[in-house]
C-alpha cells in the first residue's frame, strides 16, 4: 500500500509538469483554434538556455527565449490570417510542426545531443510515512499557483475577460471592439512564457534535450484532451492524471508497455465519442 501511495504521489509530481504544460496548450487552443505543436519547442529552448547559463540569469534568459519563440509563432499565425481566409486550421497546426523541427534542429546545433540538467531542489521529505521528492512537491505547488493565477487573470482582469470573449466567439468579440487578433497573439506570448517555465522545471527534474520537443507536445495534447477542453482546472487535472497513469504504468505494467499509455488514452478518449469535449466551441474558461 505504501509503495502504491508513493507511486501515486510521484505520478502527481510528474503530472504537475504536464498540467503546467496543458495550461498554455489550453490557452492557445481555445483562443486561436490552433494546436501549437511548437509548445514542446518552447520547453526545450527554455530548458537548455537555463541549464547552459545557470542561476537566476539562466531562468530569465530561458523564459525570454521561449517568449521570443512564442512571438514568432504568433506572428506566423497572424500572417496566415492576413494572407488567407483561414478555414483550414490544420495548415497552421502543420506549420507549428515545421517551427518545432527548426527549433529542435537549432537546439541540437547549439548545445548538442546531451540531456542537460539544471541543479534543482535535492532531497526528499518524509510525510505520513511516505518519502516525497522535494523537487516534485515544488513542481506541484508552482503548477497549482499558476493555475490559480490563470484563473484570477481570466476571470478578474480586463485582458483576461477580453481573451475569454475572443475564445468564445471571435466574431462577437470583434463586434464589441475587442482586438481579437491582438488577444490571439497575446495567447501565444503568455502560453510560450508558461511553457518556458515548464522547461526550467523539466531541466531541474528530468533534464531536457533537443529530441524531447515532440514528446512534450504530445503530453500536453494528451493532458488537454483527457478530460476535455473545458477549462483550466479540467486540463490541469488531466495533466495530473496523465502523470499518475504514467507512473502506475511504469510500476505495474511489463517493461516497455507504459509507453503505450499516452496514445492508448488518446484513442480511448477520442473513440469513446467524447470528441465534442475538444471542440473549441465547447470551451468556456
Amino acid at each position: 500500500m505504501a509503495a502504491f501511495m508513493e507511486y501515486l504521489a510521484n505520478g502527481a509530481f510528474f503530472g504537475a509538469l504536464y498540467a503546467l504544460l496543458a495550461l498554455p496548450m489550453f490557452l492557445i487552443w481555445s483562443t486561436t483554434d490552433v494546436v501549437d505543436i511548437n509548445i514542446g519547442g518552447y520547453v526545450i529552448v527554455a530548458g537548455v538556455v537555463s541549464a547552459s547559463v545557470g542561476g537566476v540569469t539562466g531562468w530569465l534568459l530561458g523564459v525570454m527565449a521561449a517568449l521570443g519563440m512564442g512571438a514568432v509563432t504568433g506572428l506566423l499565425f497572424l500572417a496566415f490570417h492576413w494572407l488567407w481566409d483561414m478555414k483550414d486550421m490544420m495548415r497552421i497546426v502543420l506549420a507549428t510542426f515545421g517551427l518545432l523541427l527548426i527549433t529542435a534542429s537549432a537546439v541540437q546545433a547549439l548545445v548538442g545531443t546531451d540531456n542537460l540538467y539544471l541543479s534543482g531542489l535535492s532531497g526528499s521529505v518524509h510525510l505520513l510515512g511516505f518519502r516525497l521528492s522535494t523537487q516534485g512537491m515544488f513542481n506541484l505547488l508552482l503548477a497549482s499557483a499558476f493555475l490559480l493565477i490563470l484563473f484570477i487573470v481570466l476571470n478578474g482582469s480586463a485582458s483576461g475577460l477580453r481573451m475569454r470573449a475572443a475564445a468564445a466567439s471571435a466574431a462577437s468579440a470583434a463586434l464589441v471592439g475587442i482586438a481579437v487578433r491582438r488577444m490571439q497573439f497575446m495567447a501565444f506570448l503568455v502560453g510560450s512564457g508558461m511553457a518556458g517555465i515548464v522547461g526550467i522545471l523539466a531541466a531541474m527534474t528530468t533534464g531536457v534535450s533537443y529530441s524531447r520537443g515532440l514528446q512534450f507536445s504530445v503530453y500536453a495534447v494528451t493532458a488537454v484532451i483527457l478530460l476535455g477542453l473545458r477549462g483550466p482546472a479540467t486540463v490541469f487535472l488531466g495533466g495530473i492524471l496523465l502523470g499518475i497513469f504514467e507512473q502506475m504504468g511504469v510500476a505495474y505494467l511489463p517493461s516497455g508497455w507504459s509507453q503505450l499509455l499516452p496514445p492508448a488514452l488518446i484513442l480511448l478518449v477520442l473513440a469513446s465519442g467524447r470528441s465534442h469535449t475538444i471542440s473549441v466551441h465547447a470551451v468556456r474558461a
Partner: protein, 334 residues
C-alpha cells in the same frame, strides 16, 4: 481529337512516364541512382493515396507509414516464418492494412479534422509500441530479416521498373477516381458533408472506402519495401516516416496526383545533399512553413500560377494582389 483529350487528361501520367524513361537512360545500370529512385517512388506510392484522402477528402492521416509497416510485416512474417513466396504474400499485404483501416475508419472518421490527426498519431505510436514489444513474431526492436528478393527479374532495373509501374497505376487510379462520380462525391463531402448527404452521397461509406484503399496501397508499398530492403524493424516505417509522407504531400501538392512524387523527390534529394540532421531539420521545417503559408496547394501548383501570370494582360498589375481581400473573395467563390 479524342486522343488529344485523353492525352491531356492523363498529362501527369505522361510526364511521369517521360521522367522514368529519362532516369533509366541516365542511370545506365548505376545502383545508386536506382536506389534513390526507388526511395522516391516508395514514398510516392504511400503519398499518392494520402493526397487523395487529404487533398480531396479532407481526411488527414499521420499513420500512412504504419499501414505500410502492417503490409511489410505481413509480408515478412508470411515469407520468413511460413515460407510463402513474395507473390503469395502480396494479397495479404494489401488486404490486412486495408481491412483493418476500413474497420477502424467508422468510429474515427466521425471526428473533426484535428481530432482525426491526433487519433492517427496515437494509432501510429500504438502500432510502433506493439511491434517493438512483439517478441519473436515481429523481431522486437531488432526486426525481421531474410525476406526473399523482389519477384521482378533483374535486381536493379527490374526492381526500379516494378515500383515505377506500381506508382504509374496509382497515378492512373488517382486521376480516374477524382474525375469519377465517387471522386466528385468525395470532394463534395470535404466541402460540405451535410449538403453531400442531401444529394445522396453516403458520407461514412465513401470516407471509409478511401481510408481503407489508401491503407491498402500503403500496404502494397510496405510489401515492396520489405522485399527490396530485405529487412524490417519498427523504425523502418515509423511515425517519423508517416510525418515525412505527409510532409511530401504538403510540399508537393495535396490535390495533385504527382504532387507526392514532387514532394518525395525534394525530400529524398535534399536529404542526400544536406550535410546532416541539423541542416535537414532547419531546411525541411522552413520549407514546410513557407509552402503552407505561401503555396497551400504545394509546388505542383506553381505551374498553374506561372500560367495565370503569363495570361495576365500587360499593365494589369503585379501577380500577387496587394490587397488580399479580392483574393479571399475569389477563393470563397471557388
Amino acid at each position: 481529337m479524342r486522343t488529344f483529350t485523353v492525352l491531356g487528361r492523363h498529362r501527369n501520367l505522361l510526364a511521369y512516364a517521360v521522367v522514368i524513361g529519362i532516369v533509366i537512360s541516365v542511370a545506365q545500370g548505376r545502383e545508386s541512382i536506382y536506389d534513390v529512385g526507388v526511395s522516391i517512388l516508395v514514398f510516392g506510392l504511400m503519398g499518392i493515396p494520402l493526397a487523395l484522402m487529404y487533398g480531396h477528402g479532407g481526411i488527414i492521416s499521420l499513420c500512412q507509414a504504419s499501414f505500410a509497416a502492417l503490409g511489410g510485416y505481413a509480408t515478412s512474417i508470411l515469407t520468413v516464418s511460413h515460407g510463402w513466396s513474395a507473390w503469395e504474400a502480396l494479397a495479404p499485404s494489401i488486404l490486412v492494412p486495408g481491412v483493418i483501416a476500413y474497420l477502424i475508419s467508422r468510429p474515427i472518421l466521425r471526428l473533426p479534422e484535428l481530432s482525426l490527426a491526433l487519433t492517427t498519431i496515437a494509432l501510429a505510436q500504438l502500432w510502433y509500441g506493439l511491434v517493438a514489444l512483439g517478441g519473436d513474431r515481429t523481431g522486437g526492436h531488432v526486426g525481421l530479416y531474410g525476406m526473399p528478393a523482389l519477384p521482378f527479374g533483374d535486381e536493379q532495373l527490374g526492381g526500379f521498373l516494378g515500383i515505377a509501374v506500381l506508382v504509374a497505376a496509382a497515378i492512373w487510379a488517382f486521376e480516374n477516381y477524382v474525375r469519377s462520380a465517387r471522386g466528385r462525391a468525395l470532394n463534395a463531402i470535404r466541402i460540405d458533408p451535410i449538403l453531400a448527404r442531401s444529394v445522396g452521397a453516403d458520407v461514412a461509406r465513401e470516407r471509409a472506402l478511401v481510408f481503407g484503399v489508401a491503407a491498402g496501397v500503403a500496404g502494397l508499398a510496405g510489401w515492396y519495401f520489405s522485399l527490396y530492403v530485405g529487412f524490417l524493424s519498427p523504425d523502418s516505417l515509423s511515425f517519423t516516416q508517416s510525418f515525412a509522407v505527409l510532409f511530401m504531400v504538403v510540399i508537393g501538392g495535396r490535390r495533385s496526383s504527382i504532387g507526392p512524387l514532387i514532394g518525395s523527390t525534394v525530400y529524398i534529394l535534399a536529404g542526400d545533399l544536406l550535410p546532416g540532421g541539423v541542416a535537414q531539420g532547419v531546411v525541411f521545417g522552413a520549407m514546410l512553413v513557407a509552402v503552407l503559408l505561401l503555396l497551400p496547394d504545394g509546388l505542383a501548383s506553381l505551374g498553374g500560377i506561372v500560367r495565370r501570370v503569363r495570361r495576365r494582360p500587360p499593365g494589369s498589375g503585379s501577380a500577387a494582389p496587394r490587397d488580399p481581400a479580392p483574393a479571399k473573395r475569389e477563393r470563397a467563390h471557388a
